[in-house]
């Protein structure tokens, strides 16, 4: 499989379990452009994990098709298909009997890379996910939860797969470390530009991580598939509106930064509190409230004034 990002297409993908009336995934059709992060989100019973596992055939399709760069997953040899897809799960599933280095080198070993190349790749990946070179010799039991998840990510990235499947990868991690891992993951993705399918039940995580969000409802039916902004601003129906929450207007503000606004002249913010231009509109609104101010002075990263913003500007 190519190491470039791959386009992923669900085409009427359906999973029915024998003896159950309702489908787990019901005629799911959506296309993830190469290099995008598609977040599958929804209540439990929405079939998001099932949909994810259909892709690497840990669960077998009942009907419909899934194509990677135009080729049906059913046409690939099963083990080759899986070796070409990075897979990260919530419980991490590191091999406890292997060192961190051996865990990361799993897929390259299966692919028969020479030892030297595996060692170099492992070193590179440890640095990429923010671990120390010495960590290669440690065992998973010696790591913290956050470190284990970094190793899980490095293992999935090892053979540079064009497609990554991530099943609630940060779900079992405390909120502070989770935020950091999310930020680092986005920074990595900015560099690597993989096609990623990311499952979460947390709408805030979905909004933060996703280029596109697929909201699945009970019975594995797709309720809406769109960009985070479009979903927050124009929820397709009552279910989506409820799922994204009553504060969706605030969440939408978090998607934009002051630098995207047309700012007023600096003179209008004489003596007003300063705020950096990369602040999100949501955080800027919080500043207006906490500073009890009508106007803020927007400054660039180097501290020079960029313009002024008034409270009413945010509410438009």
């Amino acid at each position: 499989m190519a190491t470039q990002a791959a386009e992923l297409v669900f085409d009427e993908a359906t999973k029915l379990y024998e003896g159950r009336e309702e489908a787990a995934v019901d005629r799911l059709s959506l296309a993830v452009p190469a290099g995008d992060i598609c977040v599958l989100v929804g209540p439990s019973g929405g079939g998001k994990t099932t949909a994810l596992k259909l892709v690497n055939r840990l669960i077998t399709l009942t009907s419909g098709d899934i194509r990677i760069d135009g080729t049906s997953i059913m046409e690939h040899d099963l083990t080759e298909l899986r070796r070409g897809i990075g897979y990260v799960i919530q419980q991490v599933g590191l091999f406890p009997h292997m060192t961190v280095g051996a865990n990361i080198g799993t897929v390259p070993r299966l692919l028969g890379w020479p030892k030297q190349r595996i060692a170099l790749r492992t070193e590179e990946l440890l640095e990429l996910v923010g671990l120390e070179p010495e960590d290669a010799k440690r065992y998973p039991a010696e790591l913290s939860g956050g470190q284990r998840q970094r190793v899980g990510l490095a293992r999935a990235l090892a053979a540079n797969p064009p497609l990554m499947l991530m099943d609630e990868p940060f779900g079992a991690i405390d909120p502070i470390v989770r935020m950091r891992l999310q930020d680092e993951f986005l920074r990595l993705q900015h560099e690597l530009r993989k096609t990623v399918v990311f499952v979460t039940h947390d709408i805030d995580e979905a909004i933060k991580i996703g280029d596109r969000i697929a909201i699945l409802r009970e019975g594995g039916r797709l309720a809406q598939y769109d960009t985070p902004a479009a979903i927050l601003e124009h929820p397709a129906d009552e279910f989506v509106a409820q799922f994204v929450g009553g504060d969706r207007a605030l969440k939408a503000l978090a998607l934009h930064r002051l630098s995207e606004l047309e700012l007023r002249p600096v003179a209008e913010a004489d003596g007003a509190p300063r705020v950096r231009e990369d602040t999100t509109l949501r955080d800027a609104l919080a500043r207006f409230v906490s500073e009890k101010s009508e106007v803020l002075l927007v400054v660039r990263a180097d501290g020079t004034p960029a313009g002024a913003v008034a409270r009413e500007d945010l509410l438009r």
Binding site: R83, Y87, M98, V107, L110, A141
Partner: protein, 239 residues
């Protein structure tokens, strides 16, 4: 009762005063009879136990594969191993001799039977205890079924399997002394002779001590092997 033929003159009927008086422990007897009695018995004992544990391991392993794959068979295999384990060894010898004769085979069938219970149960439990998410990530990474078994499940079940092997080995070394009721082999034989000959204490203590020492040594060696095979079990997070 099948009884192996012994020498006509009691071992302690001659030799040093200690031997003639059947003293508690005559080192001169041990020295004189190490090479013609004790050492051969020890070597035979090791052979009997080694063969029994090795064959028992192979059979239990195959049964465990069947028991894990075909769930409905797990309980019957377990009960059958239970049943074998509960048959008294002397009774089992009596049952087998008409079929397999007064042979090493008879002894080994009995010894192997006693290893199956602990080996089978530990293998099945050990393999079953491998976390589902570890197997899932192996499958997801593109391990074949066989690779998942050999490279992930089997290594992770090693502590449980080795615990079974240690118990099976120690108990086989102990039970193998009873083999002397059928064949003149193993450390049970000098014990058996000494008991018949008006309880010659030195020979009983010497053969008994060797059996105990053998069991402890085997257990210690297997413990070292287990440590070598499972380095990850001794590393935990120090934070």
């Amino acid at each position: 009762m099948i009884v192996a033929a012994g020498p006509v003159i009691p071992n302690f009927g001659r030799g040093s005063p200690c031997e003639v008086n059947n003293g508690t422990f005559c080192t001169d007897w041990v020295r004189a009879h190490w090479s013609d009695t004790l050492q051969p018995a020890l070597v035979q004992h090791i052979e009997l136990a080694l063969i029994a544990v090795a064959i028992g391991f192979a059979i239990a392993f195959l049964l465990a594969l069947v028991g894990l794959r075909v769930r409905v068979l797990d309980a019957p295999i377990g009960y059958w191993a239970d049943f074998l384990y509960t048959i008294p060894s002397l009774a089992l010898f009596q049952l087998l001799v008409p079929i397999t004769g007064i042979t090493v085979l008879t002894v080994e069938i009995a010894l192997v039977s006693y290893t199956l219970l602990v080996l089978y149960r530990n293998m099945v439990e050990g393999l079953r205890a491998v976390p589902a998410e570890v197997i899932e990530s192996a499958r997801g990474a593109g391990f074949t079924r066989t690779q998942t078994f050999l490279r992930v499940e089997l290594p992770l079940a090693t502590p449980a399997i080795m615990a079974g092997v240690r118990i099976a080995t120690v108990s086989t070394i102990s039970i193998a002394t009873v083999a002397a009721f059928v064949i003149p082999k193993g450390l049970g034989y000098p014990l058996f002779i000494a008991l018949r000959e008006d309880v010659f204490k030195t020979e009983i203590f010497a053969a008994g001590a060797l059996a105990v020492a053998l069991a402890l040594t085997a257990d210690a060696l297997l413990h070292l092997l287990e440590r070598a095979l499972t380095p990850w079990t001794r590393r935990v997070r120090h934070a």
